[in-house]
């Protein structure tokens, strides 16, 4: 070793520090990031704040439309009361009066009134605290007084009478987790695999790509059915299954880019300088792949989320009473004409989330592009 003075390495910022600084200047991306965080928070905390449990069935409110004002509508109260008492086999006198926040229903019967009949009224979601008042001396007639319960369904309810807002938020948890986790799995496997295959080339590349071809052609549905059979219905497994299938596209795209990159001068220079394969892959190839990878990632998240709904459709996904955006959308799509809002609200949540993901993706790409500094 002679005393050659090594030039002091320039104290540079790393690619990522640099990128993050630039990302911070991209207003669309930052706004999207904020939006995504808010969406995630809403999905985490929201279900506790809506006042409805996600699996609470309101039998009196099946498929009601979205509304800012609380249910029941004034004109629905009297029929609901009559309907409830029809089963109690008592005669209901007219008129059913609505006094403030309570309802008065005169009832009579040929036999003595059974005080338990108030439960029929209580059973209806619209009423609570029903009591028998103003009993006649013979106990054969009286007035049932019940408080009117007010519920707000901002997004309406689904086909079994569950609050759609709460369900949309709960669904968001599942969809976001599934989308992000599976995508990360796919990207990690795909980028590594594709870059190695493309960079090493030759025989290794041939074999590795044949493996991809083989995996591509295997029946995905069976793959998932088998996983479900062998390991039971486990949520983590679905991520693995989806991620394990979706990395294939990524691997091909990355390989293609790598093939083209490795003929470029700076890679050849690095090779000439004796940098090891792992080093070249990590320092030169993978950073240069950021653009296509990030774009592909923004395409993959929606695909994973939609794929998940397809799986749930086939009965291989999320089990009731859990749900996901994909499931809600496919339920809504069945009845576009009758109840468009059942499709609309989950679709808006999904779409805005994916838009945000896209802007972040674009922002990241611009920020991380190594050629543009």
């Amino acid at each position: 070793m002679t005393a050659v003075v090594q030039p002091r390495p320039v104290e540079g910022r790393s690619l990522w520090q640099d990128g993050l600084a630039r990302l911070r200047r991209n207003r669309a991306a930052m706004a999207s990031l904020v939006f995504l965080v808010l969406m995630a928070l809403a999905c985490l905390a929201g279900p506790y704040l809506t006042g409805h449990a996600y699996d609470q069935v309101y039998r009196s409110y099946v498929k009601v439309g979205p509304s800012l004002s609380p249910y029941p509508k004034a004109e629905a109260i009297a029929p609901a009361a009559l309907d409830a008492l029809k089963r109690a086999r008592v005669d209901v006198g007219e008129p059913v009066e609505i006094v403030g926040e309570s309802v008065r229903i005169p009832v009579s019967s040929s036999r003595e009134l059974d005080p338990r009949i108030v439960r029929y009224v209580d059973r209806v979601d619209i009423f609570s605290g029903a009591r028998l008042e103003e009993m006649a001396g013979d106990g054969k007639s009286g007035v049932i007084v019940a408080d009117i319960e007010r519920f707000t369904f901002l997004f309406g309810t689904d086909a079994t009478g569950r609050d759609l807002l709460t369900r949309t938020l709960i669904a968001g948890r599942i969809s976001l987790t599934i989308g992000l986790l599976a995508t990360v799995v796919a990207i990690v496997i795909g980028v590594t695999y594709g870059a190695v295959s493309g960079y090493l080339g030759g025989r290794v590349d041939l074999v590795m790509m044949r493996v991809v071809d083989i995996l591509y052609s295997l029946p995905f549905i069976f793959f998932v059915i088998l996983l479900v059979v062998f390991f039971g219905r486990n949520f983590v497994l679905m991520f693995i299954a989806v991620g394990a299938v979706e990395w294939l596209d990524m691997a091909r795209i990355v390989r293609g880019q790598t093939l083209s990159l490795k003929r470029q001068e700076f890679i050849q220079a690095a090779e000439a300088l004796g940098v090891e394969n792992v080093g070249i892959l990590r320092r030169h190839i993978i950073p240069n792949l950021t653009g296509p990878v990030v774009i592909y990632m923004t395409l993959l998240v929606p695909r994973v989320i939609l794929l998940e709904s397809f799986l749930s459709f086939l009965g291989l996904g999320v089990q009731e009473p859990m749900t996901s955006w994909g499931v809600l959308i496919s339920e809504g799509a069945r009845d576009i004409e009758g109840n468009p809002t059942m499709l609309l609200f989950p679709a808006i949540f999904l779409t805005t989330t994916l838009f945000a993901l896209n802007f972040i993706g674009d922002g990241l790409r611009d920020a991380l592009d190594p050629k543009d500094r």
């Binding site: 052609s217 295997l218 029946p219 083209s260 003929r263 496919s330 779409t351 994916l354």
Partner: protein
């Protein structure tokens, strides 16, 4: 070049063999069989059926039997479509799927590339945002929403096109399925082209070309597009294989007699031979299109050498 293609096709044979073997045993492990219907069969009847379809033999024997038939080009009879052999089902369904798939592919590539270029050239301007927005929307909305919507709007409300059916392949019956199938692909191609185009426009050789004062048109089409098209080509290979082999959603909702539904139906019905047939057909398509992609790569980008 010729040698390369021959070698690739020869290596496809062991690939196919592995696929067939893998798929054969995977399917058999799944619960249920082809004769598990909503209405269960009498035990004796089930026994007769199993004997007819050789399902009473040990699995390895069935496997050898299947391989033997396959070697003679016989895909076997379908278990569920009992009047047809798997080969007959594909002979009638594949051309239909290819027509729809090819239409969608061409539409997606042409529209996607054009939109992608337009968007890239107007980066961060309203037109760009508009196109990217639409493209994102296209990816976001699942086909099972688009298909009934299109059918409802154009078939029922406006009455311009048939709401469903195949109509012996008349063109009016193909429009809605092709558009439905193409929409998400247009979105993907647009985004890929835009991204690659922006990157290409910033690259040294484009800057040089511009500095030389070449016409913008030449720069875009001859130089930028050439490298920008690579990710699209990469994507188009598997996409083409997937499109040409049909889509279960589009075929079911529009009532089109293609082969796309066989993949899901056969899997859910445990129609073993039909599943194997679908796997083989899809595998062949993928192998062929991957080869095409690699050849195109070499053609477009001279830096890529075929190994």
């Amino acid at each position: 070049m010729f040698g390369y293609v021959t070698r690739r096709l020869l290596t496809a044979i062991p690939t196919l063999f592995l696929i067939v073997t893998g798929a054969f045993f995977l399917i058999r492990v799944a619960p249920g069989g082809p004769f598990n219907l909503e209405r269960p069969l009498e035990a004796k009847v089930m026994e007769n059926l199993n004997r007819i379809y050789h399902l009473d033999k040990p699995l390895w024997e069935q496997y050898l039997y299947y391989l033997g038939n396959l070697a003679r080009g016989d895909f076997g009879p379908s278990f569920v479509y009992r009047d047809f052999s798997v080969a007959e089902l594909f002979a009638s369904g594949l051309p239909v799927s290819i027509q729809i798939g090819a239409g969608a592919l061409v539409l997606a590539l042409v529209a996607g590339t054009l939109l992608g270029i337009a968007s890239a050239l107007r980066q961060n301007r309203p037109a760009d945002y508009g196109i990217v927005g639409l493209a994102t929307l296209g990816i976001t909305i699942p086909t099972f929403v688009i298909a009934p919507l299109l059918s409802l709007v154009f078939g029922v409300w406006l009455g311009w096109l048939p709401a469903g059916g195949w109509g012996d392949g008349a063109w009016s019956y193909k429009i809605l399925p092709i558009v439905t199938l193409a929409l998400p692909q247009i979105a993907v191609v647009t985004r890929l082209t835009r991204g690659a185009m922006i990157e290409a426009m910033r690259s040294h050789h484009i800057r040089t070309a511009r500095a030389y004062g070449l016409k913008p048109w030449t720069v875009v089409v001859v130089h930028a597009l050439r490298s920008a098209i690579l990710p699209v080509v990469s994507y188009a290979g598997p996409a083409a294989a997937a499109l040409l082999t049909g889509s279960v959603v589009v075929e079911t909702i529009f009532g089109i007699p293609g082969v796309g539904r066989y993949f899901v139906q056969a899997a859910l019905n445990r129609d073993y031979t039909l599943v194997m047939g679908t796997v083989i057909v899809i595998a062949i398509f993928i192998i062929v299109f991957n080869l095409v992609v690699d050849l195109l790569y070499a053609l477009i980008d001279p830096r890529v050498r075929l190994g």
